[in-house]
Symmetry: D2
Subunit: 132 residues, 4 copies
C-alpha cells in the first residue's frame, strides 16, 4: 500500500528560472509526510511523539513549470527499525515521474528532545505501507 | 580550497517545533551555491550558462534553534566531469557541524533547456576547489 | 461576482508559534490573484502583459492553526482605473473570516518594465467582479 | 532613534519575474521586528510575552532584482497605546527606498493566547524609538 498526497503547486514555489525550485520538492515531501502522519499515526500517538528527518536523498529527473493541476507525492515504507524507519517517495503525475527520493526518519520525543522507540501501533501502521 | 558562505538564520526558517526546518537547510545549500557561482563563475559564463541540481543528499546531525549569529555553509568540489560536477557541503559554526550534504550539478543551457559541456574557465575554477 | 480560490494550508506555512504566519497570508492573496489571472485574464493577454502589486493592506482578525481543510481566499474588484485596479480579499472558511485585505494592482508590461493601460478585454473581465 | 536591520537577499526570495517577490518584503519586515525585539525587548519580557501583527500596510515603490549587498530595513515607533503600538518601516539602501510600510502590533500573552497590557519596560524601550 502506498500513500498518495495531492500537492497543489504555488506560484511562490517557482524560482527565477520559472520552474519549481529544487528546494521546494523537499517541502512537498514534508507535506506528504505530515499528511501521512495526520491520517494514519496521530490517533495512536501522544502529541510529543513525533519523528525527525535524519537523512534525505533526492534525484531530480525533470523540471516542473507552473501548473494548476496538483502533483502527486507518493510515499511508502522501505524499512522498519527499532526507533527509526525508511521511506521512499515519487513526485509525479499520471504521465511523468519528476523527482524520486528516500529518507530515514527517527522516532522522536519532542518534549524530551531525544529519540524514542517506535510504538507498537506505529509499527503496525508502518507495516501496512512496507515494501522492502 | 573551500568556499565558506555566511548564512543569516531567519525567524521564518523555523518550523512549528521552533527549529530550522529540514527543508530550509536545502535552501541554505542553494544560497551557498548561488554565492559561489556569483563570485567565481559568473564573469566567465554567459547569462544562459547555468547549472541545475540533479541529485542531493543531506544528513541531519543536530537541530538548530533560532540564533542571531549566522551559520557557515562550507562548499567544495569532489568530482569534475564533462558536463557535470559533484560538491560536498557542511553547515556549521565554529563548534558544531549541523548538516553534511553532497550534490551532483549538471551544467545547463537555460535558454536551450538542455545540458551543456563545462567550459574551460569553469573547469579551471572548479579545479581550485577540488578535493576528491 | 466574487472569485473563490481554495488554498491548502501547508505545515511549512506555520511559524514557531504553531500558527499560519502573518507573511504567509500575503502569499495566499498572491496565489488567489495568480489563479484569478490564469482563469479569467490569461487568454486575452500577451505573456508580457502582467500586473504588479503597488499597495497592499492586511487586517488580521484571528489566528489559523494547522488544518487539513483548505482555506478560501475570496477576491473581488473595487475600482477600475486606466492602468490600475483595486481588489478586496477575505481569507475565510464557512464559519470564520481570518484576514481581510485590500490591494492596488498596476497593469505592467513585464518586457518593457513599465506600466501599461488596461486592455479592453481586461476591463470587461474585471467589470464582472466589480463591487465599488 | 530608528532601528536599522541588515537583511541579506536570498536567491529564494526571487519570484518567476526575477525580482524579490512582494510577499518577501513582508518577511523582511518580520525579520526586522524579530531582531528589534531580540535586541531591545527580550531581556525585560518573559518568554510568553510576545506580540502579534494586527494590521500591516505596504507600499511598493521600486522592484529589487537579485543583489549580493544586503538591504536595510529601518523601523521606528509611531504610537504607543495601552496594549498595542504602531510602527513604520522603510526597506532601502543608501540611494533608494524600495518599500514603505506601517503596522499595528498587539502585545500578546502567547501562553494564554490573549492580548496583554504593554509592560513598563516595553513602553520605556518603545518610547526611545517614538516619532509620532
Amino acid at each position: 500500500m502506498r500513500h498518495a498526497f495531492e500537492c497543489a503547486v504555488r506560484f511562490d514555489d517557482l524560482d527565477a528560472y520559472g520552474h519549481v525550485n529544487n528546494v521546494t520538492f523537499a517541502e512537498y515531501l514534508q507535506e506528504a509526510r505530515v499528511d501521512f502522519a495526520h491520517r494514519y499515526l496521530a490517533d495512536d500517538l501522544s502529541p510529543h511523539e513525533g519523528s525527525v528527518v535524519a537523512h534525505q536523498s533526492l534525484d531530480y529527473h525533470r523540471p516542473v513549470p507552473f501548473r494548476t493541476e496538483p502533483l502527486q507525492v507518493v510515499l511508502w515504507v522501505t524499512r522498519i527499525g527499532r526507533s527509526s524507519f525508511d521511506v521512499a517517495y515519487e513526485i509525479r503525475d499520471a504521465d511523468t515521474v519528476y523527482v524520486t527520493a528516500t529518507g530515514a526518519l527517527v522516532a522522536f520525543d519532542v518534549a524530551a528532545e531525544r529519540p524514542r522507540p517506535l510504538t507498537e501501533a506505529e509499527r503496525a501502521t508502518l507495516a501496512k505501507f512496507l515494501e522492502p
